[in-house]
């Protein structure tokens, strides 16, 4: 299963993170720090798999891929299929791309809650739940409509008060 998801930029700033395995905030910080440093130090042409064996809190492997300024990284179990994980990761990026329309780092910064929504529609509890891009994006857009109607009501009220 996927134990954690980290999205960070080239400067090592974390943009999104989701932990499916229990860790304290301190452990999370030290594990992500450790992984980010190692991945940023890896050269082009090296494989997309980083073995975490022997590190205290994290276990298994980290698989990662760089898309423009962002690195997407999954922590997976030792026994898991690495390529399968990498393609789930790619699928997530595709879904974000479709949802935002040509996604970039800023989209994810300002709309992090939408990025989490797409993540939760695709992955749940560390396993892939839906890999059909159309369905994922349709659901998320559907949620947005609900949100819009909320805010229309809010704006109406606000103007009434004014």
């Amino acid at each position: 299963m996927i134990n954690f998801i980290l999205v960070f930029n080239r400067q090592g700033k974390i943009r999104l993170s989701r932990w499916y395995q229990y860790m304290t905030d301190k452990q999370k910080a030290s594990v992500s720090q450790d992984i980010v440093t190692q991945i940023l130090a890896r050269k082009r042409g090296m494989c997309n798999i980083l073995e975490l064996e022997g590190r205290r809190e994290a276990r298994g492997k980290a698989i990662y891929k760089r898309y423009a300024s962002l690195f997407f990284c999954f922590g997976i179990d030792w026994n898991d299929n690495e390529l399968s994980g990498l393609e789930v990761l790619h699928k997530y990026v595709e879904c974000l791309d479709q949802y935002f329309g040509n996604v970039n780092e800023l989209d994810i910064i300002y709309n992090y809650s939408a990025a989490y929504q797409v993540m939760d529609e695709m992955l749940l509890g560390g396993h892939a739940q839906e890999t059909n891009k159309k369905i994922v994006v349709k659901h998320c857009k559907g949620f947005d409509k609900l949100e819009e109607s909320d805010s229309i009501v809010h704006n109406l009220r606000a103007s009434n008060i004014a």
Partner: protein, 933 residues
């Protein structure tokens, strides 16, 4: 939300961390006041929680706002609810105190008719579900999963939520009861649902393989449909490949089961695998297409290896792998090496792999550490007697330039391979000493302990290793670990080389002592012990050594001081008696599992899914989940290798039916086994006698040992107990072996024996109170039969494993163990037979045998019960006459006469026993009666 956007922009404009911190603190203070004032609108609450979450993602500590997030959850507006849930899943974890506050809101949303609310609730459970949620909500989640009214997108979320709850708290999910309905969902038309439920079943099947057997045909059919029949919804095609993740999940699921026996299914699966291999002959240009194709291919190869590692498919796969490990793409090289290691770990046929030895050795020099690690593991897995020397010498050469992170593991692996495959022991000693001298810092304690054990147990090695270790200690860079080995070996075997040039006693002493001052206190303490042994071995250098002792009598460290004082006292006694006794040669170490292996296993065994295979040779792979299941099914077939279980006593061999229990026990939490593993949970209840609490299933083992043979007396997933015994007259000795099969220490270990009247059981020493991981301890008992025991002794074993566990067993020490067979002539026999006369000193029983009477078997029963069979006494062939003397130390001897008349037409026995004691007659009759049945 404008406020949020502005805030984020502000933060982004902070060019230095100090400014960011200032801005954050300001905002935190502001939000705190707002929250304190209360009476915020839902919109504002949402806005502030969003800001807090953003700060949290950036890595700042957020220690408030949880309550506001919880409040938002119960909002009627979707957007507020959604942020509330996001806040809860990011800020809380399974052990948060606040979790109980959300359980009710979540339950309300689960029961809601609005599916979107159901989904938000499921997300929350799947992300933070702890015990409370599991207990309160598992039923609701199950309902959403199996209800025909649930929409697909609710179903798949429910499946994964259930998986999370099961992983965390398997005890609240009655998986076997739900097995059928859950398994049926594999057939769901919606591929997303199928994908999710396959993940769930994969987890459940590892725990309850039997309950989920029906998933095998379903998985195979589904694979066939997608891959061979190409029946799937076009939306699920990923770069020309239909839903690769589902294919992979199903292929993985099958690896947790033994190969199917249904020929149709087998044929279908073969088609699936062959199609996958055929599809992979071309390398697609597109990266994603290529990755997805390879992901499936590797999983298919893993499954093929699991099914039959000598099949044609595996042969084809081996060729593909050979191509892969030469690939220019690093991912492919990495995975090629990994999969090849899987093959090497389970197959007997290593020749195909050995062809690529050179390439694999080259991969140790790959620029990517991940690939180097795979190369190392593959070399370790493919090692056998023929190539061990090449591989080990390559690895030692590589050790000098290897990454620090890799070295310790390499040393462990080299040590294991060398020990396992060495054909001559001197080579073993050479390699290990070389290892210690060149990579001393990375040599764990286990490694040098093991050398000492092996040298001690092999007399032929002792002189050679003493010579070698002395040589190494003279090199300018001698590592402290070498000094430890050297100190021990010279202390024990230094005298063997004392006549060689350059190895005279004083030279040995000087070599050691030259580095004495430079090493740690622990090593110095060890060397002091070596010196006292020298005093015993070489009285001629006593003077020099006494000077050292004298000097260290005043050292500050208490341990060293004590040793120095005590050794000084022993060495200066008027006679050498005590010195000689203390310094007597070390006895051989009992054979036990190499601590190295358990160390290695410990390092790799932490993972959510059970491993489908382990790195290492074939023996490391006999306890994978599927193999265990296979062993269980295969009842008549043979022995599970105990090596991994850690109870490698030569004295204990689990054979035949014992395997069945062993396999069952090791299956861990399987419903059936869990009752066996905690046999006497209610044992502490007052008023129960030991006899009432005997471990379930103990009879099987007991009956097998009743005839006095040696073997396993009890086994579960934690403990294996073996017994070995010998008797002579009224005395007996019983050795019991307690093996800890787990990878953790068993504490509070205690054994007590309840002896019946007339039998005295004394233990030879106080037993250790803990058993280390994968080790075995031994306890000796001496028995004395004083009077006539009418019961067998009972034994109670207790230990701490989570909670306190107790096991109650019967020891197979019956009255007949104290018999001594004798032979009487016909005349003598009948004279005594008449002398004893009928009841009460005669006991007779006539009974029907449960099987066809077999004279050989009957004879064996008598002989095993230590009765002497007198030939040609009874005129009728087939009737037995047997005699023995029963020995007691207080009541003297009791003569026992026996006649056994089998009637082969009716399968009845008539057993008549006359002894000089009515108690013995009665009791002996009962024992033989049961044994003959």
């Amino acid at each position: 939300m404008r406020g949020l956007t502005v805030f984020i922009a502000d933060i982004r404009n902070c060019r230095v961390r100090e400014l960011e911190e200032k801005r954050i603190n300001k905002e935190m203070a502001n939000i705190r006041t707002k929250f304190k004032e209360g009476s915020l609108s839902g919109y504002d609450k949402k806005k502030y929680v969003c800001k807090l979450l953003y700060m949290y993602i950036l890595g700042w500590d957020v220690d408030f706002g949880h309550m506001e997030a919880v409040n938002l959850i119960s909002s009627s507006k979707y957007s507020e609810k959604q942020i509330g849930y996001l806040g809860v899943t990011l800020l809380m974890h399974e052990n948060s105190d606040l979790v109980r506050l959300v359980v009710n809101s979540i339950r309300k949303d689960l029961d809601d008719n609005n599916e979107i609310h159901n989904c938000l609730a499921l997300h929350a459970i799947a992300n933070i579900g702890g015990r409370e949620m599991a207990e309160a909500l598992a039923g609701d989640v199950h309902r959403l999963l199996v209800s025909p009214n649930s929409k697909s997108f609710v179903k798949k979320k429910a499946a994964l939520t259930m998986l999370r709850l099961f992983r965390k708290h398997p005890d609240v999910i009655p998986a076997p009861d739900w097995a059928e309905r859950i398994t049926n969902i594999i057939d769901d038309y919606d591929l997303g649902v199928c994908l999710s439920v396959t993940s769930l079943i994969t987890a459940l099947a590892q725990q309850y393989p039997e309950a989920f057997m029906m998933a095998i045909p379903k998985a195979i059919t589904r694979l066939h449909k997608v891959i061979v029949e190409r029946d799937f919804s076009a939306d699920y095609v990923y770069y020309k490949i239909p839903i690769p993740w589902l294919q992979i999940k199903l292929l993985r699921l099958l690896q947790y089961f033994p190969p199917t026996e249904d020929p149709n299914m087998s044929e279908m699966l073969h088609n699936v695998l062959q199609t996958i291999i055929n599809n992979s002959q071309e390398t697609p240009r597109n990266v994603q297409h290529n990755n997805a194709q390879n992901a499936i291919l590797f999983e298919a190869i893993n499954l093929a290896i699991h099914l039959d590692c000598e099949s044609d498919i595996v042969r084809q796969a081996t060729n593909i792998l050979a191509r892969f490990i030469l690939s220019r793409e690093t991912n492919v090289r990495y995975l090629g090496l990994e999969t090849m290691a899987h093959l090497a770990a389970v197959t007997d046929e290593l020749d195909e792999i050995k062809k690529h030895e050179e390439t694999i050795i080259l991969s140790l020099r790959d620029k990517d550490i991940s690939v180097r690690r795979r190369g190392l593991d593959l070399l370790y897995s493919m090692c056998d007697v023929t190539n061990v020397k090449t591989i080990v010498s390559e690895l030692i050469r590589y050790l000098h330039i290897a990454d620090y992170a890799l070295r310790e593991e390499m040393v462990l692996k080299i040590a294991i391979m060398t020990e396992k495959y060495a054909t001559e022991y001197s080579w073993y000693v050479d390699v290990i000493l070389q290892l210690i001298s060149s990579a001393g810092d990375h040599v764990g304690e286990e490694v040098w302990y093991r050398v000492v054990q092996i040298v001690t147990n092999h007399e032929s090695l002792q002189e050679y290793s003493a010579k070698m270790v002395l040589h190494y200690m003279r090199s300018p860079h001698c590592h402290e670990n070498m000094l430890k080995v050297g100190g021990y070996i010279l202390g024990e075997y230094g005298h063997l080389i004392a006549n060689l040039p350059g190895a005279s006693p004083i030279e040995q002493f000087n070599t050691l002592h030259a580095r004495f001052g430079l090493c740690s206190l622990a090593t110095r303490a060890l060397l002091l012990s070596t010196y006292i042994k020298f005093v015993n071995l070489f009285p001629e250098i006593k003077g020099a050594i006494l000077a050292v002792f004298n000097q260290y009598r005043h050292v500050l460290d208490a341990e060293l001081q004590q040793r120095a004082c005590e050794y000084m006292a022993i060495a200066t006694m008027p006679t050498d008696d005590l010195l000689q006794t203390v310094c007597e040669e070390m006895p051989q170490f009992t054979e036990r599992e190499s601590a190295l292996l358990s160390r290695l296993n410990e390092k790799t065994n932490q993972t959510e899914d059970k491993r489908t295979w382990n790195i290492g040779g074939k023996d490391s792979n006999e306890k994978t989940p599927a193999n265990l299941l296979a062993a269980k099914e295969n009842k008549e077939n043979g022995s599970v290798d105990d090596l991994v279980a850690g109870v490698n006593g030569a004295t204990i061999s689990a054979t035949g039916g014992a395997t069945e229990e062993a396999a069952q026990g090791t299956n861990g939490a399987a419903a059936t086994a869990s009752s066996a593993a905690t046999p006497a949970a209610p044992a502490a209840k007052a008023g129960l006698t030991w006899k009432d609490q005997l471990a379930p299933g103990h009879e099987v083992w007991y009956n097998r040992l009743r005839d006095g043979s040696d073997g396993v007396l009890y086994e579960d997933s934690i403990l294996q107990i073996g017994i070995k015994s010998e008797y002579h007259g009224h005395l007996g000795r019983v050795a019991m072996y307690f093996g800890n099969k787990t990878h953790s220490q068993l504490n509070s270990f205690a054994v007590t024996v309840e002896a019946p009247e007339g039998l005295v059981v004394v233990n030879s020493h106080t037993l250790a109170t803990s058993i280390g991981p994968s080790t075995q301890i031994q306890q000796l008992y001496s028995l004395e039969c004083q009077q006539i025991p009418t019961e067998v002794p009972l034994i109670r074993i207790s230990y701490q494993a989570g909670s306190m566990q107790s096991i109650y067993l019967k020891l197979p020490v019956t009255l007949t163990r104290f018999l001594e067979p004798i032979q009487l002539s016909s005349a003598d026999f009948f004279a005594r037979w008449k002398q004893i006369g009928g009841a009460p000193r005669e006991a007779q029983s006539i009974f029907k045998s449960t099987e066809k009477i077999n004279l050989e078997r009957a004879r064996a029963v008598l002989v095993n019960n230590r009765l002497g069979i007198c030939e040609n006494v009874d005129p009728k062939p087939g009737n037995f006459v047997a005699t023995a003397v029963f020995n007691t130390s207080l009541n003297g001897k009791v003569g026992c006469l026996l006649r056994l008349e089998p009637n082969r037409d009716t399968d009845m026995y008539r057993l008549t026993i006359r002894t000089t004691s009515d108690v013995v007659s009665k009791h002996l009759k009962e024992i033989l009666h049961t044994a003959l049945l």
